[in-house]
Structures are given as structure tokens and as C-alpha cells.
Subunit: 209 residues, 2 copies
Amino acid sequence: MAELSERSGVAVPTIKFYLREQLLAAGERTSPNQSTYSESHVDRLRLVRALLDVGGLTVSAARDVLAAIDNTDMPLDWAFGIAQQALPAVAPEEDDADAAHFIDELITGRGWRIDPRNPGRATAARVLARYDTLGLGHLRDTAGEYLRAAEVVAAADLAAVAASPDRATQVETVVVGTVLGDAFFAGLRRIAQEQRSHELHNPTDTECE
Amino acid sequence: MAELSERSGVAVPTIKFYLREQLLAAGERTSPNQSTYSESHVDRLRLVRALLDVGGLTVSAARDVLAAIDNTDMPLDWAFGIAQQALPAVAPEEDDADAAHFIDELITGRGWRIDPRNPGRATAARVLARYDTLGLGHLRDTAGEYLRAAEVVAAADLAAVAASPDRATQVETVVVGTVLGDAFFAGLRRIAQEQRSHELHNPTDTECE
């Protein structure tokens, strides 16, 4: 186990915790105090840590995701759905009903059919309701452009998933990529906002379009 | 003050805190125990609360943003820059240097000139470095598409700002819209991912493109 810890960079007590929680299969016991771990253990260890630490999944949600990865009879988009739904989500509130209806219209207006449990639905509705409460408006006017941008990002995300070598890495890319991708996009958005603001307020000073 | 609290929905102890921190100007004193507050106090109160509660700004950052709003000699895109930079940001780490260089190349490759202090720069570099550490790759391949999507969202954001009635509301829209817009986009991204995954894995089942 000391060697597994060294090869994976995961501390021994953490490995013991994963074993106890059945997130990691036991190694092959070679003596009362010794087990052999394979390369697949190192990979699984890295995946479990990414799900819990980067993805913020609960242990029980991580267990569901791992089961989906291991069940190769399950269609891949089901496994993606399970990975998506395992991510921490906002709880919808009663006041969100009107905003949720707006989001649904936006989705069906594009001819999309989305699982009602898609976590993005509740998140988008919650934010929109909060925006309405602040009396700032405008987010509804821009929602269509936001969705258009989300389509561009989602297409890039799924292309990255397809480029991953195996089912486990693909699901890892879904979970880690979804969480980290949010922060990445947020960063690029601030950069693009500065550029756009500069273009709008100093039109003659702009070198490139 | 009780009336101000009722009209704004902000509790009296919170109003007292804002007054003490000079985020809100004192009312016009009409007797030792009574002051008169105008409609502009109600507006400012709503703005201060949005900056602190929704934007997550520190008191000192909120003070800078309010000063930028009040200084009408300041060009509007400077005020936007101050609002943007007031938002909580990630601290760059030494390991991010390579990722930061990649982000800079991406920006200059589009002919953009961005303030080195733009908080999105450090955020995007931090995420990219984290991604590299996980050995998942691919985020660099998709970064260009992410930036293209960020441009669409930023253009919509700035249009929403321009549609706001006055300087204070415009800056409020920058701060609140930037923070809430991140979460809104994250929600729509999950929706678009599900749709895209469905299209890829069930091509004959897709009704619309």
C-alpha cells in the first residue's frame, strides 16, 4: 500500500478510507500484511480522487458514477447523465416556478428534449429567479445568447470526451471537465468583457475586430 | 430608519453597519433621534447589498466600486474595470506560469489587449494548470471554442449593461451580472451537454438540429 500511495500520490489513510467505502477494490492479498495492487488500481485511485476533490461529489454519488463506468452494458450517454447528476446541484425553491417555466420554453423552443432532472435546469431557474428579485431584468433578454454560447462549449466538451481513450477517462472528463470548465469559462468571460467594454467605449482605439 | 428598512427590505442593524462603514451616506438629521432618507438612499442600499451579498465583495472593495460610480469624471470602462477587479479572484500560483503564457497567447492571438490585472486571466490559468496536473489534457484544445463562446456571452452582457438606465445600475449590472451570469451559464451548459450527448449517441433519434 505504501508503494501504491507513492505511485498515485494519494496518502495511505486516504487509500484506506476509499477501500473502506468500497470506492476502490481490495488488492490481491499475498500475505497477511501485504497485498498486490495493479496499474488499474492507480488509475482508479486517481479517478476517485478527481471525483471527490475536484468534482465535489459525495462518497455515495461517486459510488454511483463508478458503477456506471463499470457497467459496460449501460449506454454511454446514460453514464454521462449519471456523472452529470452526481455533481452538487442547487435545490429548486417554490419561487422559481416562473423562471423554471421560462427555461423550459427556451429549451423546447430549440426542439431539445431534456431530462427534467437535469441539474442545469434547476440552477438556471434559481439564478433567473434571483435576478428577477433584484429587479435588474435583462437576463431573460440575453438568455438566448447564453444558450447559444453554452451550445458551443458543450460541443467542445463532448468532443474532448470522445477524444478520451477509455470509458473511465471519458466519465472522468465529464465530471472534472464540467466542474473545472465552469471556472475556466468564467475566467475567459471576464477577459472578453474587458475587451468588449474597451471596443464599445473607445471605438477609434480598437486595432482588431 | 425603520421606514428605510421597510422600504428597502434591509434590516436595521445591517443599515447601521453600512452607515458605520461609510457605504451609505447619513440621512438628513431632523431631530436628535430622527433622520430623513431619500429615494436615492433606498437605491444605494439595494446596490450595496447586491455588491456584498450577491457579488461577494469585501467592504473595502465595495467602497472602491461606489467611489467609481460616484466619480462621473471617470470613463465608464474604467468603472467597469474596477467593478470587475473588485470581485473575489483566485490567487495565481507559481506552477501556473506555463498555463498563464498559454492564456496570454490565446488573447494576443485574437488581437486583444487586456489589463494584466484582469481577474479572468489568473482564474483561467489556475484552472488550466489544475487540468494539466490531472493529466486529462484536452482543455487546451477546446480553449479557443471556450473563448469564442465567452465573446458571445460578453457581448450580451455589455448590451444588458448599456440597456441599464443610469451609471449606478450599469455598474450593479456588471457586478451582479458577472457573478450570477457564471452560475446561469453553468446551468445552461449542463442542459446543452445533455442535448449534445443525446445527439451524438442516438443520431437517428434526433428530431431537430
